[in-house]
Structures are given as structure tokens and as C-alpha cells.
Symmetry: D2
Subunit: 344 residues, 4 copies
């Protein structure tokens, strides 16, 4: 079975395992207070062009999201997100379990817009009964989105502008960030995120690491006691240096970007093959998640050899599915799939 | 600097890194639903002599504790623990963050007794105003305890018996479980735990793994929907097979027990050296954590070369400290420390 | 200013104040364990035709809703409700503050349907990734709804049937229950609710009492330790007998129903006047909340003399507003409003 | 049965019922935004000598405590309190249910001392591992305490001073505040509380009202969005004016102080009778709660005619009990009890 159902099917980029093996018996303090975390932190700061940014390492995406929300919001506040946002759909209510509501707006191509945030904010503050409603307290976006789509620099700038006018911290969930950066149409950099966002995460788990997300807090305002909340929520890894090592390797010599470029190239190659066969796309993604709509019969044939994720029924005889490429995807596997697609 | 300040200073047992490297590019589904987790689960079941036990893998100890508590307790219920219990002291209020109180009893040599549990239970249920008080909902013990001490089989049997009479699920936090099993005075086995406890964890992080805890749920009653809560609290690792691989290696050919025996042997060697030098012990531990009380002057000398954890002031000129050995401790380092102790 | 903006503008029905004055210096135990609460409990049981129903008295509607949710749901579970449900809109995230998500369906005339509940349930249990999603754990409906509309007996029976098939406790928020019972088109009784619902509340605050809601739990399953959670959430009134006295008076000689009938009659009178003037209704309510759509100019005129609640903009020059009648509404005030409407 | 078991046995001071009857059919907006609440707020501000103090009205003591804690604390922070503090003992874990731990110190005559707060603060901030521990976030004291004892002005000043040095908001739970003010040894005023505390409550429920507590927030810092959290936790009364009316009456013409003086006078009379009979006191209280220690046989005799609360066993044949007086206590009942005590 050749698997395309997710981007966390394999272990880690070999350079990471190599570094882990090399450093294995070194003794370092725990909880992220070690030289590897510091080195990774420095690399990330450099790329962000922000010497003072705080960078904390967590074990996973859901953990990162719930910890950031818990650290930012007061009890009566909620997270503004697109209805398709990961925090609203696929984290088993992790945000709500910290006591907060997720306030949603209908996604536009997977994205949340500046106008939507402004509207939600104005509606709340313009309502005489607002004390009876959850107050918007922060904004959550994912980039790439759950649909593989990307915010343009202009869109993120607008979003950031509105968030700052409204006093709403903007948090960007970058679980697949590398795949976003290396997409053809991307015009955002880490430095942009550090300027435009109040907090953002750099995904490791889906982009070459065994596990881990780096949460970057560029400004002073949101840092206080973040590590307490990290520990309280169970996300502070005892052998924290493992995260430092992984991010250190990923951000050395641009490995993070190289492996992301590989995944995106193969994804686009696959996308073109779907389109060439006349299969429409649920949404037009230039990143590692592709969402073609295929006849159910064709899917049954492909399923004998390939795995992919069922996304949703398109109509009685067609389904939208998701094929993921990743840093680990073998071009030969993609080529084989393309051949089998053509043969359908 | 030779470090003895914790038992999570190094990476993992080389066999684990080797297995990770071997399997690195294999594709498996995520979230613990892969063959390695299943294999590790089987090994653990076998050792527990319980074919039907559920075994879930989590990323860390605090995560395990808070997830177990959240899954067992109803809102008005609390966790009964010794005042020195990890959940009461060193998890930044992780249990309280799930909404529950920790009800404590004064530790007896680091342990909670059956008599204490019975008393707390009877006091609650005998109080006419009990609706105004947190209801005991489960019992938490750690084995070894935070002081390295161990429950005897008789003690655990008594505790288990009282817990069952009182209808209080008994959860045993085994963050250092291996070190407990291989101590000279130990008379407990995994099979005993599976019989006497309602839930227990097998620590990976401190006992040879990079990270990870296996939560074992022997009986049917407490399993339902555990995985939802695991995900909700951020503890469900995307690349779950990493946990399966690690526990699979640890429980193959008794590696877990071998490396624990190594650590305990060195710990006892060190203990004898402290005693030989006339340094008393804060508590008498036969496991990998040792708590000698030394003159502050001696500690200042040792601190130039060794790291250890400050535990508490004993008096104006003496402090209790903690020295940890682990699966990774080099006997030569212990011998060097012993020589330097003798030279004090 | 003649006020119609809510149904909690006045104090209480004089019979209640009279009884309070009569019993004022009697000494009774607190927390609802007094003869008045027992008497009110008995009256309610009788009307419910359920001798064994548990009846607990709380101080308010939001309190009742959050306490019921907290007592029923496990952490990973959420409340299924119409998007217009009070718990989703006007309780400042009270449910989320207890850790749970509200899973919504688009309201149909203010109501949640059996089909929608079935769909939400089936979608969840049919999803291979359901562990990553909030599990439906109970169903919330309000009757009358936030739009003053009513469930028919058939609709409630269908809803109840689906809830039981799905194992989802059905909770009916009856903050305005009396106004529902006395509406022309109503075909539900308290006995029906006791048969079809797993928990329901009988509103006091909006229906003649100073404050208070009675939460009725007909069956055994959901009662355990409810009072602990009541206390924990701050809803257990010290002078509990005040709630017993109020509900005792309300359910003596059918006062609850008489005063509700009064309010509904006046509401319908008002509704007819709106329709006679050619003003459409946002929704067709036969209960004490009426939602006419008027030209903004007309509203400005009315606003000089009357208060009402702005509901939402209908278009550029029209707004939907809410006029409430209640047990306290004076017919002369309604007649005056009707005259002023005619004069517009 | 003549009841002395609590101070919430009766309804309210007749002046309150009278005012409620007078105003019963007046129409006012809800949620505390009415002229009566404003009037009560003004009276309280005047007595506090703080024109800008915010005053919010809640339904009960547990509600007040949990709402204040939720509004002040960040997730990783806890409440510092005496081990006998109400929030630690008799609120069914209401604080923990908001996600926060209660950090206790051994009570000194029912009180928490400035030195204890300083110690707890210093211990936390001096601990290298503090990120693994709950951070003290506020201080809770009750006045009178659960034992009827009182803070002197000097003690409260010291406590306040330390709290301010440590940046810990000081919250004083005044559930029985009036009884404290009118005690012989009292040297505190409302104006003192407004100067020394960051938040404090004025109890209504136990001091003449049907129900209700006024939460006073003298300074700007802690007010923001308090009302949202009030609503979210279910403590915002729909017919808020009921609280305004009650506190308005209580603080008109010093009624609050008069009725408290009555209760304290009778309590002291009773205390003297216990002492005259040779019965020791569990603690020396000058307020409305008295804690004599009597032989169990004597208690059995008294119990035939009087109710009182069992407090704790003193030894095999003696128990400490609690007798409460209140604004409603009849002197003749106290005299009868005194006669029966003498006759024992």
C-alpha cells in the first residue's frame, strides 16, 4: 500500500535522526532550557529578523493551539476562526476544554478575512447586550489552511491591521508552514509573520520532524508566564532538547525549506495530473494537501493500491478526497500514482 | 560537568534510536493506530497477564496524569493523593486546570496509606454537609514515589482493597516504574499492578525512552472514550508509532528491566557511599533517586564538578539534595563521585 | 415609559410576596432542604404525574443550563442545540466555561428537529476520525424557543425518540414554560415533558417569581450528585426555602397557568394589532414574545413612549423588534400601545 | 425547635420585604442596570469614601468567590488562603472548577497572616523550578473568618502591604461583614476595606437580606469585563433590581449596622453564658458565630429543644458545636437557651 492519507506517515528527515544519534548520550537540563533549544531559538529569531522574539517548543499542534488560547484569553473571551479552522473541527474541543468558545465565520476558500474579523468585532461592541455574549479575544488562522490554501501577504497584512485596530492578538497556526512558504504563489516569509502576527507556530511534526511545534511570540505582551501554562497543560517536554535538536537541524542550511519545496513540487505535479484527467478540485491548493473530486468507482480502484483520506461526498457518485505529499514522499510513488490515474 | 540532577538528561537507549532509524521511512497511520503500538500493547498485556487490558500511549507524565483524572472524575470529584504527590506539587496545577481539586493526606515516607484513604472517604460520607465538599473520586499514588520509596505488595493490596470498597478508582503513576521493579526490596510485578490498580502508567521518558508513557487500563469500566480525551488534552501524538516503537523495544527481551536494574544498582552503590561518609538520608530509597543530606560546604565543593538538585534545607548548614541515576548513568561517573565524596 | 422590552421588568406576583411576608420569620434549614421546597417538589411531581422525579431549585436560567450540562457531559462531549439556542448566544459562553462545546444546527423556526439530531449523531459516529471531534453528549432545546415558537407534542415525541435511540439526554430549558403551556396551539403538558425529556426546567424568573428555576429530573440516571454540582457552580441558594415558597405559590391552584394565560392573551392581542397594521412578523409566535418588523421611523415614534428590544435589522429602513408581555402586563398598557400603533 | 444552626434560617429584615412590596410592580431594566442598584451603589461608595468604586451585585457567596477568582487569575495562578478558608472547605471545589488551585497556609486563629503570604510568595519566586508550580495569583481572606474571628486594622494593613509588595490582589470575603463591623473589638470600617483590599464583598444573605452579596472593586485595575464573567458564571440576576433594593434598604439609615449589632450583642451574651457554665470555646469569637465545646451528654439534652451545628469532636466525650445568632434572633430565645444551659 502506497500511503498518501496524511503528512505524518513517516518518521523524520534522516538528518534529524543522525543528529539525535550523535547527541544521544550528552547530558542536558530538561524542559527546553538547554543549548540545542537555545540554538534553534537563535536560528528562528534570525530568520524572523527579530532578536527578541520568544520561542517555545511544544510537542504537538493541538497542544500548541490550546496553550496559546489559554495563555491569551480571559474567561469570557473566545477565539475568532473560520468555520473550517482546525481548532473548530478536529481537536475534540480542545479550546472549549480550556473554557473558551470558538466564534466562527464562514470560510472563504478556507480562509478568514479581515472584513469578517472587523464585522464580528463591531457586531459585538455595537451590541447593547454584549455582556451576555462571548467577547472576541483573539483571532486564529492556519497557514496553509485546512484546505491547503494560502493567505497572501496583502491578506495577512489586512488581517493583522484589523486585529491591531481591534486589540485582538492574531495567532497563526503554522502546522504546515514550510509547505506554505515554498508554494509557487507564496509571498510571505518568517520575518513577515513575526511582524504581522502576535503569536505563530512553526510546524515540525508534519514538516520533517518526529514531533514538535515551535511557538514564536515576537512581542513582549503575550509572553508572561507562558511556560507555566505550557507545563500546566502537559505540553512541556521533559527532554526538551529533543525539540531543540530537531528544529536546529531543520533550520540549519535551509533544510526546512528544501524539504517543503520537494513536497510542494510533487503536490503540484499530482494536481496537474488530476486536472489533466478532468477531475475537478474541491479547492485550489498550491501546497502539499490536494483535494481532487473523483468518481467513487475510480476511488475504489485506486484504494486497492493507495491510501488517501475521504474528505466529503461531492454528490451521489463522486467524493472529494485528500492526497498529501510530504518531505518524505518518493517521486517514484507519485509517478506511479499519476500513471494509475491516467489509466483510470 | 557530570550531571546527576535528573533522570531525563540523555536521549534514549541506543536500541530505541536504532529501531527508529530502521523504521524511519515506513509509512504507518497516525495516532497510535499502527502495528508498532499494537505490538507494544501486546507485549505489555502479556507482561500484565491481562489479554484485554487497554494500553494507550501518551507523550508525557503530566499529560498522562491530567488526562486520566479528566477521564475518571465527575466535576464535583477530586483526586486523593499524598501531599508530596507529583500532581499536588510539580505539575503547575494541571489537575486543577481540568477543574478538579487534589485532596491530600500527609505522606508517610512519601506514600499514601489505605487507612488514610479510608479516613478521607469516611469523613466525607459521614459528613452531613458533604454536598458542600469536594467528593473523593479517585486515588493517585506514584510508584516509586517522589521520594524514591516503594509500596510493598501488601501495602498496595490494602490500598487497592480499600479503594474498591470505597468505589474509588486507583491510579498508579509509574513515571519511574522500572526503577521500582528492579529495586532489591520490590515485590510487585506488572501483573500485580494490572490486578490491583484500575489504571496505571508505565514511564518511558525517565526509563530509556526519548519520551512517552503507556497508560494501562486493565478493566472495562474506565476505557470509554479515553482516546477522545487524550486528543482533547493535546496528548495524542500524530506520529503515534514513535511511542509504539519505543515501548516495543523497551519490552522486548526485558530491556526495560535490565536498564532499570543498572540504574538501581548504581543508586544503591551511591547510597552506600553517602552513608559510609556519615551523611544521613532524607528518606531511605532503594531506587534511582537518592536524597542525602550534606553540609552546605560539601555541596559547594561537589557543585564545581557535579550537578544535583537542591531538595530542601535540612538546617542552617545542611541541605537535602537529590542525586539521580538512570539507564544512562556511567558507572565510572558514579565511581568518580564516590571517590570525591570520600575525599570531602 | 411603558416597558415591553423583557419579561422580567417587575418583581413577583403579589401572592408570592404575601407568602414570603407570612413566612418571613419562620426558621428553616437552608439549601433547599426545607418543607417549602418539599411541598413545591410534591406539587410539581403531581403535575408531572411522576412521584419519583427529582426536583432541584436553582437561582436562574443560565445557572440551570450550565449546571445541567456540567452534570451530564463527560469532558469530550458537547451540547447539541439550534444555532439560536440561548446557550449558544446569550449566556456569555457559560457552557464553554464548563469545558464543553455547543454543536449547532440551523434553527427551523427557532427549533431543533429530530432529523437534525439524528444527522449530527450519525455524522459523528460514522466518521472514522470521530475521536478528533467533539462527541454529541446531550441535546438542548428551549420551549418556548428564543423566538417564542413552540414544539408540538409530535415534534417533541420525535425528538425524544431520536434522543433515546442515540443515547443523548434531552434537556428542555423552560425559562418561559408557562407561556408555552397556555398558548392556543400548545398540546404539551408537564406530564408530557416528564415522559419525553430527561431533564427540564420550569422557569420562575420570567413567569411570576422574583427569581428561580426548578430543574426536574424524572428518571434515576441523571440525578447522582446533582446537588454537589449545584453548589460547586454557585447555584445552591443558602435560603433555599425562598425558591420553595415561590414555586409552591405558583403551583397552588394553578396560578402559574393563570398568569401565563393572561400574558399570552395580551401577546396575541398585540400580535393581531401588528398584523392589522400590515406589519409582518419575524416569526409567528403564539407566546409572550412577539417579533414584529416595523419601519424604523415608526419605531422612533413608539420609542418616545414605549420600550422594546431591538432584535435585528430587517433591511435598510426596517427593523425587527421584540415586545414582551408577562404575568404583570396591564391590559390598559397593551390597549394604549395598540391605539398608538393604529395611529402610526 | 428553636434554631441556632446557621445565620440564614429566616427570610429578610421586614424593611426589605416592605420595600419589595412597595416597588413590586415598578418596571425596571434587568441585570443590575436599574436605579435601585445605582442607589445602593452610591450608598456603598459613600460609606467606602470612594466615589469611583465599582459595585456589582451577585446572588450568593460561593458565586461571588468563584467569579472574583475567575476574573483575577490567569490559568497558572492560584488563590492563597488559610486552610480553613471557605473557598478551601465548603464550596465543593468551586475555585478548582474554574481551573485554579487553592494554596493554603495553616490558619492562625482562623486567619491568614501577612508573614504567611510573604513566605508563600518568596518560596515560589525563590524556587528555580517555579514554572512547575502553581503561581500565587491572589489572596483570599474572610472577615469575620469561618471561626468568627476578626482581622484587626493592623493585621489587615500588614496583609494589604505585603499583598501590594507582592503584586497579589487581596480579596476579602465579607459574607458576614456586618457582624464583624459591630463586634466590640472591631476597628475596621468600610472605608478601610476600600483602601486596603483590591476587592471585597459585603454579605447580604447572612445579614438581613433574602439573598445577595455586593462585590466592591475600589480600584480600576480589576474591573474590566467583570460583568461578562458574572453572566458567564450564572451569577447575574435577571431581576437585578431586587439586589439593589435589598442593599439600598440595608444601607439606609445604618440598618445593616444596627441589625449586626443586635446579633453580636446576643452572641456575646450567649458566649458569656457558655463560659459561666465552664464550657471552653474552640475559638474566641466576638461575632455572631460561637463555638463552645460541650459534653456530648449535654448536647444530647439541648438537641431536644435547640438546633445547632456539629463542628468537630473535641475528644471522646466532648464536641465543639456552633451556635449562630443573626439579625433575626429573638432575645427571648437566647435567654431561654441561657436558662437551659444553666440548668444542665
Amino acid at each position: 500500500m502506497i500511503r498518501f492519507e496524511s503528512d505524518y506517515l513517516e518518521g523524520a528527515h534522516p538528518a534529524i535522526l543522525k543528529k539525535m544519534a550523535e547527541t544521544n548520550l550528552e547530558q542536558t537540563p530538561g524542559y527546553g532550557l538547554d543549548p540545542y533549544c537555545e540554538s534553534a531559538r537563535e536560528s528562528i529569531r534570525r530568520l524572523c529578523r527579530n532578536d527578541g522574539a520568544d520561542v517555545q517548543f511544544l510537542v504537538g499542534g493541538t497542544q500548541a493551539n490550546l496553550t496559546v488560547a489559554a495563555s491569551i484569553l480571559r474567561p469570557h473571551q473566545g477565539v475568532v476562526a473560520a468555520d473550517t479552522g482546525h481548532v473548530n473541527c478536529h481537536e475534540s474541543g480542545a479550546i472549549e476544554a480550556t473554557g473558551h468558545k470558538v466564534l466562527t465565520a464562514k470560510n472563504e476558500n478556507g480562509k478568514l478575512t479581515a472584513r469578517q474579523v472587523r464585522r464580528i468585532y463591531d457586531e459585538h461592541w455595537g451590541d447593547a447586550n454584549r455582556e451576555h455574549m462571548v467577547q472576541p479575544g483573539m483571532v486564529y488562522v492556519s497557514h496553509p489552511t485546512e484546505f491547503g490554501t494560502l493567505y497572501t501577504k496583502a491578506e495577512l497584512r489586512d488581517l493583522s491591521g484589523v486585529c491591531r485596530e481591534c486589540g485582538l492578538p492574531l495567532y497563526l497556526d503554522g502546522a504546515r508552514l514550510g509547505y506554505g512558504f515554498m508554494a509557487e504563489e507564496n509571498d510571505l516569509t518568517l520575518a513577515d509573520l513575526a511582524k504581522l502576527c502576535d503569536v505563530f507556530s512553526i510546524g515540525g511534526t508534519k514538516v520533517g520532524a518526529l514531533f514538535g511545534e515551535a511557538v514564536v511570540i515576537p512581542g513582549e505582551g503575550l509572553r508572561q508566564d507562558f511556560r507555566y501554562i505550557l507545563k500546566q497543560r502537559g505540553g512541556m517536554l521533559a527532554k526538551g532538547r529533543l525539540l531543540g535538536i530537531q528544529f536546529d537541524v531543520l533550520f540549519r542550511d535551509g533544510l526546512y525549506f528544501k524539504i517543503s519545496e520537494h513536497a510542494d513540487r510533487l503536490a503540484v505535479k499530482l494536481k496537474k495530473a488530476f486536472l489533466a484527467k478532468g477531475f475537478p478540485l474541491l479547492c485550489d491548493s498550491g501546497t502539499n494537501q490536494q483535494f481532487p473530486i473523483l468518481p467513487d468507482g475510480a476511488l475504489a480502484v485506486l484504494a486497492k493500491k493507495y491510501s488517501f483520506s475521504f474528505w466529503k461526498k461531492a454528490d451521489a457518485s463522486h467524493s472529494a478526497v485528500r492526497f498529501c505529499t510530504s518531505w518524505a514522499t518518493r517521486e517514484s510513488d507519485v509517478d506511479e500514482l499519476i500513471r494509475d490515474l491516467a489509466a483510470l
